[in-house]
């Protein structure tokens, strides 16, 4: 009888390089390059620093929310009320503006309203244990509904001087305030999700909330904080969007929730929770922004763009499953 051959288990099952090359993020980089090159050939106006800078406005506001939404979806929850939070925040700022508030106060009120909306969602989901889909479908009509009650078919205009900086100002050369803020928030959320205990807890809850609870993670508190974060980032996005448009209507940011969720899912975050990365979301934001911009240069109507987004949302999940044979 020969002794059983010793099996050598390598330190790493896959070399880091081949793992990086096979990751979803690598696919996204290739897609981003492909979209960029296609656009550059399709339109002579694409390769222009100022045009490209304008194009970033297509995704910066949505991407800010997408960072928080990615963490929320990784934790196994979802927030469909983000676009309605934008409407309510914008309305609150409009009311404050009419009462004569200055720029700093407007920002405080905007962020505060966003946090308050997030806290309401968080209380209902984490505090009372209700399903987040239904809760946020409810608050989605509630928040925007309040906006409609206040404004009806009217609009707030005439925001004070200096308020336009958030949506229209440039920090340096072609780098707008929104783009810089987007980059800063990307780094902050990357650090929060990938470098802190809180981030680990988010993954743990998404993979198995019960196990997370038994390993000492305060599941309800983490969920509550995540809803606060989506509320806060929606507030930030609302300040930028209101500043960029210079006005508030109750229909502001309609359909943003779909684009934000699409961005997150396209970025490789599992809709069932438990996996995903901020880098993926950043890449997905760039891809969606460039595709929107490219379609715009080619005079493709916005609604055709939304068909494309819908197909993208389903295709991104369906194609890998088809290739794996389910």
């Amino acid at each position: 009888m020969t002794a059983p051959a010793t099996r050598i288990i390598p330190d790493r099952l896959q070399s880091p390089l081949s793992r990086a090359l096979r990751s979803w993020e690598a696919v996204l980089v290739i897609v981003a390059i492909a979209v960029f090159v296609t656009n550059a050939f399709a339109s002579p106006y694409f390769l222009n620093a100022w045009n490209l800078s304008d194009a970033t406005f297509n995704f910066t506001e949505k991407a800010m929310i997408a960072f928080a939404m990615a963490m929320l979806i990784i934790a196994g929850e979802i927030d469909l009320s983000v676009a309605s939070i934008i409407a309510l925040v914008s309305t609150a700022m409009g009311l404050a503006m009419q009462a004569g508030a200055g720029v700093p106060l407007l920002v405080v009120i905007g962020l505060g309203t966003g946090l308050l909306c997030g806290a309401i969602n968080g209380f209902l989901v984490a505090g009372m244990g209700l399903p987040s889909i239904v809760v946020t479908i409810g608050t989605m009509s509630l928040f925007r509904g309040i906006s409609y009650i206040v404004l009806g078919d009217q609009a707030f205009t005439g925001y004070p001087d200096g308020f336009d900086y958030f949506g229209q100002g440039y920090v340096w050369w072609v780098f707008s305030f929104e783009l810089v803020l987007f980059a800063v928030m990307a780094v902050v959320f990357w650090a929060l999700l990938h470098c802190t205990n809180f981030g680990r807890a988010v993954y743990a809850i998404g993979n198995n909330a019960t196990a997370a609870q038994f390993s000492g993670i305060r599941v309800a508190r983490v969920r509550f904080i995540l809803f606060l974060l989506t509320g806060l980032t929606s507030g930030i996005a609302a300040i930028c969007l209101t500043s960029r448009l210079g006005s508030t209507r109750p229909s502001i940011a309609t359909g943003f929730e779909l684009e934000v969720v699409t961005m997150v899912v396209l970025g490789g975050v599992s809709i069932l929770g438990g996996s995903g990365s901020i880098l993926g979301v950043v890449l997905a934001a760039f891809i969606m922004g460039m595709v929107t911009f490219g379609f715009g240069l080619l005079n493709v109507p916005g609604i055709v763009m939304s068909i494309f987004l819908g197909l993208l949302l389903i295709g991104v999940i369906a194609v890998p499953r088809l290739l794996r044979g389910k």
Partner: protein, 323 residues
């Protein structure tokens, strides 16, 4: 007392209370003709809520119903313009709706994609297709034939055809859910999918059928909607899917699946319908509607959670959970 504990009875009471409250100040609101009007106005919501309720029973959600309605309505209007006879249009609208529902269902069944993602996607795709077909143009009243527009409004025995269709659907699906194996399997799939598999039920196929029912009803409602309001364009029934989900949640349909009744969904829809019809009568701006239905969803879902241990028909669940 025990009947008061039932969700349906409580909801019916709340609706009567609401009607009574309005009637104290505006007696004309409770005239039979006015109440028939309220029911007729709520008919599209009731029809869609029935379909949505069956989908939710199977642990799914269909956010594409309103877009499906708009697409089928537009196709019906275009077919009418092309001179297709009315019965054929009706069949085509229902078949197209069911086919669009089947697209949702197949993606959920064959690829295992969560229904909320699938229907968020198809919601924008279906609406986009209307734009591609029409380039954003409207189909107006003068482009529709008289019999096309007259059918939902035709009065038989004091009720418009639209209301009769709704009553027929309520009866049909009540029988389907309570008296047929398919109806039981909807409850079984939502109540406990694993147990359902062991009893020989194909979970994915059942979910797909639920989507087809929801789609078929949306197709039928699409024709009724376009014919009644005599106009078809890209944005008809925009955001209506939220009211439909609201009606189900208010009607005590558990979002986790497996519990709910047709009566609940119908009463939930009527609750919203009475509010919507009462607001202008009482003199409150229609801009309040959205916030009110939003609050109603939130309150109802809190209420559902508090009641979840005692309400609903949960079969194929462990005894201690079903109680």
């Amino acid at each position: 007392m025990s009947i008061l504990k039932q969700r349906e009875a409580l909801l019916a009471l709340a609706i009567l209370l609401l009607i009574g409250l309005v009637a104290t100040r505006f007696p004309a609101f409770v005239a039979p003709g006015s109440l028939v009007n309220v029911f007729n106005d709520t008919s599209p919501l009731i029809l869609l809520a029935i379909g949505q309720m069956i989908v939710i029973l199977t642990k799914c959600i269909d956010l594409s119903v309103a877009a499906n309605l708009a697409l089928c309505g537009m196709v019906a209007a275009l077919m009418n313009g092309a001179g297709v006879p009315l019965p054929l249009i009706l069949v085509a609208a229902i078949a197209l709706g069911a086919a669009l529902g089947a697209v949702n269902g197949l993606l959920v069944w064959k690829l295992g994609i969560p229904s909320i993602v699938v229907t968020l996607g198809t919601m924008t795709i279906y609406r986009g297709v209307i734009f591609l077909m029409t380039n954003g143009a409207w189909v107006n009243a003068h482009q529709m034939t008289d019999d096309f527009k007259a059918l939902p409004r035709a009065v038989i025995l004091g009720l418009p055809v639209m209301s009769w269709v709704t009553l027929a659907a309520i009866a049909l699906f009540t029988v389907l859910l309570t008296r047929t194996p398919l109806g039981r399997s909807f409850y079984a799939v939502g109540g406990n999918p694993h147990a359902a598999v062991y009893t020989g039920i194909n979970v994915g196929r059942t979910q797909c059928l639920a989507f087809m029912i929801s789609g078929g009803l949306a197709g039928l409602t699409g024709y009724l909607w376009v014919a009644r309001y005599a106009v078809a364009y890209v944005d008809i029934a925009d955001g209506f899917e939220l009211s439909v989900v609201a009606a189900c949640v208010i009607g005590g349909v558990a979002i986790a699946g497996g519990a709910g009744s047709i009566a609940g969904a119908v009463l939930g829809a009527l609750f919203l319908g009475v509010i919507n019809n009462a607001l202008p009568v009482v003199g409150i701006s229609p801009f309040w509607q959205m916030a009110i239905s939003g609050s109603a969803i939130v309150v109802a879902v809190c209420f559902n959670a508090a009641q979840s241990r005692t309400s609903g028909r949960i079969i194929l669940k462990p005894q201690e959970v079903a109680r």
